[in-house]
């Protein structure tokens, strides 16, 4: 596909311009994650919060959470994420808005649930969080121990612990994955949680990069989850279980790849903008890094289109995520070399980008996990076919 729908092209053009503003606050946010409150009026942040839409922001309907009329929701998220992460990945991920919870709602949420979430997000800038990973068990659905215990009226009590959850300490709403007590390995549900409810507690975990997103540890101690906050209950059983969860992650993975690409592009652009002249071997390396980014971008766009075409087709997304994270680390590690010894001290943005690049590796599964998934696709003939 080499021609974008007009509205998507317009969205991309606006987001690209808005992204440049994010850079100004990047280092401040890196030092102080709470600085995000000082940037809530930036167009990019307002856009992510759902309070600003670009011209021709054409949705399928007026209902809350309606997808794009052009039907390429994943590609849209990829293009937006890449540009905003080029501005600053920390600010993008640390912004208020529906974020990953919005993708989850798009697949598993009822209209009433979307109205509830988007209604609250519309009142003022509010954060959401997406709680999947657990201490010592990572993101493997089958290993999950956070528990939903039925209380008899269709509601549940939520107990357990999650870790590495972005924005959890500042979020008003959260999506939480947990196992229904007494069920088998795959008896996992996604529920919406109001973080003001008793028993919810989140505390930030200091990190080496992407500090704007403020990763947190969450504990749930008998948090009450009403029946109407259980996602997917309105769907047929085949659509509410693992199929739904897997298709959510398939939709998210290309966006994580795009964030990695945005970080790589930020470092590459920094070289181009701050070196007066590049010659010889340095120019070759600069161009080679640019081609590496281009190759990973093509793969990421194809992955997004594959998921938009068929949500269960997430193998290209695994390939794109693995490759884009590799490129992000490579470009951000090599960029300081264009400025000589001490560059990571003299050019703090390059140091930040090199640290941030490590952060995307862990989102949506590490490179090794993606490769194992990809091998499975190869072995079963689901990827790499003509």
């Amino acid at each position: 596909m080499r021609t974008l729908p007009g509205p998507l092209r317009t969205t991309h053009r606006h987001v690209r311009q808005w992204a440049d503003d994010l850079r100004a606050g990047a280092l401040e946010l890196d030092r102080d994650p709470d600085a995000v409150h000082r940037y809530l009026d930036l167009p990019a942040v307002r856009f992510l919060a759902g309070h600003l839409t670009p011209p021709e922001w054409d949705r399928t309907g007026p209902e809350a959470g309606s997808g794009p009329a052009h039907g390429l929701a994943t590609l849209e998220r990829v293009l937006v994420s890449e540009e905003l992460a080029r501005g600053d990945a920390g600010m993008m991920l640390g912004s208020p808005g529906a974020s990953m919870t919005g993708v989850l709602l798009g697949v598993l949420g009822s209209q009433a649930q979307k109205d509830w979430v988007y209604g609250r997000l519309g009142e003022r800038p509010r954060w959401t969080c997406f709680a999947l990973t657990e201490p010592d068990r990572g993101s493997a659905i089958g290993e999950m121990t956070t528990t939903l215990t039925p209380v008899g009226d269709g509601s549940y009590l939520l107990d357990g612990e999650k870790r590495y959850v972005g924005n959890a300490a500042r979020a008003d709403l959260g999506a939480v994955f947990a196992r229904v007590a007494g069920t088998e390995r795959l008896g996992v549900l996604a529920v919406l949680v109001d973080t003001a409810d008793p028993g919810y507690r989140a505390e930030p975990l200091p990190t080496l990069g992407l500090r704007g997103v403020q990763l947190c540890r969450i504990t749930f101690d008998r948090v009450h989850v009403p029946a109407e906050q259980v996602l997917g209950a309105h769907l047929p059983p085949t659509r509410r279980g693992m199929w739904g969860i897997v298709s959510v992650f398939n939709r998210l993975r290309p966006s994580v790849a795009a964030i990695a690409l945005g970080i790589a592009r930020a470092a590459h652009d920094y070289i181009g903008d701050n070196r007066k002249e590049l010659r010889g071997a340095e120019r070759d390396l600069y161009e080679e890094l640019g081609r590496r980014i281009d190759g990973a971008r093509r793969l990421t766009y194809r992955a997004a289109l594959a998921v938009d075409d068929k949500p269960s087709d997430g193998y290209l997304a695994s390939a794109a995520k693995a490759r884009a994270c590799e490129v992000a680390e490579e470009v951000t590690l090599r960029a300081p070399g264009f400025f000589g010894p001490g560059a990571r001290l003299d050019h703090p943005l390059l140091d930040k980008l090199a640290r941030d690049a490590r952060g995307v590796e862990f989102m949506e599964g590490t490179r090794n996990i993606q490769k194992l998934t990809l091998f499975q696709g190869l072995h079963t003939g689901k990827v790499g076919r003509l």
Binding site: L4, R275, E287, G290, R291, R298, R302, V383, L386
Partner: protein, 275 residues
């Protein structure tokens, strides 16, 4: 780069044929399509051609011989100058220097010995077609690896299910998918740009000859990684290593290995740029 639809179709066919039928049938298809009646020659005059096409090349019909690399052609000069047809026989490699065919059915030609060789295919179209062909060949090699490793066992477990092997195959697949994505961009219809003349789908850098040479090198590297999974079997002439070698030879003849970019003398003598 605007490419006629029929040329793009030939590229697709070359990839599919290389993957399904093998390198020689694919090269036969591509050569017949893009370089009928004259051997496709690389920048320094060499060619790798299907043996069955030799009889179709006018340049040999006129001279009554094939001019293969073995015995009837002269090596190119270091500066790439094509030797003329009056070079003394003593400059030509003798029969003892005859290389074996890189793959049954393939012939290697030295630089043309006619004063004015017939025009060959468009270098860009040929180069991209070769990249597609070599990608198909690489995918065929990957499939051969999977089939071979599935039959081998270590301590009762299939070699294919060893995690390091899984990872190596996934790495190769990622490379191939990325290469396919870059080549796809060449194969798709021309892009419409927006009013700002910019499209997020366009690569930031052009897919120029250096970019294509890099892509060819990337295919070679994937092949080498896959061959390592085959152990000594990949080193034998009867195994899939032979087609991988022929593929390397194609890349060498038509692209060379991407080396340092060609800079002007002034560039080379100027100190590196400064901050």
């Amino acid at each position: 780069m605007t490419v006629p639809a029929e040329v793009r179709e030939h590229w697709r066919e070359a990839r599919v044929s290389a993957r399904n039928d093998g390198l020689v049938p694919a090269l036969t298809l591509l050569s017949r399509a893009l370089s009928p009646s004259t051997p496709p020659r690389g920048p320094r005059g060499h060619a790798v051609v299907p043996r069955e096409l030799l009889v179709e090349y006018r340049e040999f019909a006129d001279r009554g011989g094939y001019g293969e690399r073995t015995g009837t052609s002269a090596p190119a000069e270091p500066d790439g100058h094509r030797p003329d047809s009056h070079q003394p026989d003593s400059h030509r490699p003798g029969p003892e220097a005859e290389p074996a065919d890189p793959l049954p059915g393939l012939a290697v030609l030295g630089p043309a010995t006619t004063a004015q060789p017939l025009p060959g295919p468009d270098p860009d179209a040929w180069g991209a077609g070769l990249a597609w062909l070599r990608l198909g060949n690489s995918e065929r090699l990957r499939e051969a690896c999977v089939a071979y490793l599935a039959t081998r066992k270590v301590e009762g477990t299939s070699l294919l299910l060893q995690q390091l092997v899984k990872g190596a195959l996934a790495d190769a697949l990622i490379e191939q998918l990325e290469i396919e994505g870059v080549l796809d961009y060449l194969t798709e219809d021309a892009e419409e740009t927006g009013p700002d003349g910019c499209s997020p789908l366009a690569p930031a850098l052009p897919l120029d000859p250096p970019a294509l040479a890099r892509l060819q090198a990337q295919i070679t590297e994937v092949d080498r990684a896959l061959l390592r999974l085959l152990g000594a079997y990949g080193f034998t002439a009867e195994g899939p290593g032979q087609a991988a070698y022929a593929s390397e030879l194609l890349a060498d003849v038509y692209c060379g290995w991407p080396g340092p970019a060609q800079h002007s003398e002034n560039d080379r003598n100027t100190p590196e740029g400064t901050v």
